[in-house]
Amino acid sequence: MRIPLSALIGLILTGIFLFVAIFAQWIAPYAINDVSGGQWEGPSAKFWLGTDTIGRDILSRLIYGAQITIFVALASSLLAFSLGAFLGFLAAVKGGWIDQVLSRTVDLVMAVPSLIVALVMLSVLPLNLTVLILVMGILDSTRVFRLSRAVAADIAVMDFVEAARLRGEKGIWVIFREILPNALSPLVAEFGLRFIFAVLFISTLSFLGLGIQPPLADWGGMVKENKDGLIYGKSAALLPAAAIAALAISVNLVADWILTRTSSLKGGRGG
């Protein structure tokens, strides 16, 4: 199997981001909130990428920012995924009123942009990591629900599922042992897209001041902290902005490749 160049670049970059996120504590030259230089210093041997609005090392904050951004995005996309896929399969397998209730609820949530719903919810809920992960995960699970319900509905009418039902297997068995293994490949590519969505979502919330709160800092929050420098030609805010873009594009490249690969696989198996 040949990996196309774009996917290879995406894989390598995604790998680097993950490595940095996992080992942030050992890689970062300074602690996250160490004020160790002057305001908005340029790049130097001491501060490779310069310093931020109150003199903290930008490289270190970017490295810690990778950790918190990727952690929150991963946690919320995992939640969106398990919740959405389970309920989607359940709706497809059970049908009837369960399907109706779940599908209409999802229609309702998707009738309003996620950002607006999140803003309304965050005006009441306390702002902490758990709340953010839950809000983003639940809102995004609606998209996973639609996809997995459609995929599972195609599988649920196949002979082997019918056979399992006639054997007298329960709904849970059918979901996990019959449908899940056959629905996995389209869902994997979807996971990449959900992860990107979560990265962009948490960055936007933090940029608006409604996401991750100080002393923690993610990339969106770093753009917010340093945005005023742009007017004086200090480009510190562009570095975290570029990091968000780079992560989103690399994961996109990988997801694109998985998507084309799984669709050709599906063709090879005759549907």
Binding site: A111, V112, L119, L200, S203, T204, V223, L230, A241, A245
Partner: protein, 318 residues
């Protein structure tokens, strides 16, 4: 009743029902979340008596359903209540800001829609060749950027690298139309970039879909030039999907304006919403949230209705 009219009426009824359900979620759903408006105003140290007094005064001790219908009735008569933070009348505060938001979104739409369709046509004409690859590559990049990231790159380019614009967008009553246009130039560029990519990609896909039909092959075999085939034969048949794409992406502007207004300090509805989320001013958040939801639902409904009207199979039933 004509079947097409029936479909349209059904779609409008569905839209209204959806809006009603969304309003219930925005009001009652938020009530169900932990957190209490009286507590939010008075703070954690408030005595139980003070809390009870305030709840009484604000009518918070009535059952949620009663308050929901009061709220809904107020909205239908143009009374959105008062802001918790400064007691200002919400309807008045929204009035002028809504105009500013529509002005910004309208400018972006006027530029983005024709541009996206032209680029989509060009990309479809040269599908797989270099103009398509260049356009697709650029749009793939802009799709991966959140609005505020795109905004700061645009600000950096046009205020530092090529200093021709101001990094803030201030409009005020009494400003001439031309001055207003100049003031919103940068935010409009950002919004165009953000919606252009989706719109152009979906236009390209819609045209390429039509290009696989047999009559397109006939037109090609007649010896027509590729651009004539696309313009005369493919485009008219792709109008329905393209118009729905355009509507869906205009709905996407709803999210875009919220962030872009904050970036440029543009005094309009999105900025007003985010401000009051931070201040935990629930009545304002609910009212503005409902307006954004209504615009979004309306645009989606319009996309579906245009799709129904443009479908000749529905227009001429057997």
């Amino acid at each position: 009743m004509h079947p097409i009219l029936k479909l349209v009426v059904q779609r409008i009824a569905l839209g209204l029902l959806l809006l009603l359900a969304v309003s219930a979620v925005i009001f009652l759903g938020v009530e169900a979340l932990p957190g209490d408006t009286a507590q939010a105003i008075l703070g954690q140290q408030a005595t139980p008596e003070a809390l009870a007094n305030l709840r009484e005064k604000m009518g918070l001790n009535q059952p949620p359903l009663t308050r929901y219908f009061q709220w809904l009735g107020g909205i239908l008569t143009g009374d959105l209540g008062k802001a918790l933070t400064n007691g200002a009348d919400i309807a008045t505060s929204i009035g002028q800001r809504l105009g500013n938001t529509l002005f910004l979104a309208g400018c972006a739409a006027v530029i983005a829609v024709p541009l996206a369709i032209i680029l989509g046509l060009v990309a479809a004409r040269y599908a797989g060749k270099w103009p398509d690859k260049v356009i697709s590559g650029i749009t793939l990049t802009t799709i991966s950027l959140p609005e505020f990231v795109a905004a700061y790159f645009v600000i950096y380019i046009f205020t530092q690298a090529i200093p021709i614009f101001q990094p803030v967008a201030m409009v005020f009553p009494g400003m001439s139309f031309w001055a207003k246009l100049q003031a919103v130039a940068l935010p409009v560029i950002v919004l165009v970039l953000v919606v252009l990519a989706h719109m152009m990609r979906m236009t390209r896909a819609a045209i390429l879909n039509v290009m696989q039909s047999a009559y397109i092959e006939t037109a090609e075999l007649k010896g027509l030039s590729p651009m004539t085939v696309i313009w005369k034969h493919a485009f008219p048949n792709a109008i329905a999907p393209v118009v729905s794409v355009v509507m869906l992406n205009l709905a996407y502007l709803v999210v875009g304006v919220v962030v872009v207004e904050v970036v440029f300090g543009y005094n309009a509805l999105g900025q007003y919403l985010v401000d009051h989320v931070t201040k935990r001013d629930l009545p304002v958040v609910q009212a503005v949230g409902l307006i954004f939801a209504a615009v979004y639902i309306f645009l989606n409904m319009a996309a579906d209705i245009i799709g129904i009207l443009a479908n000749p199979r529905l227009r001429h039933p057997k």
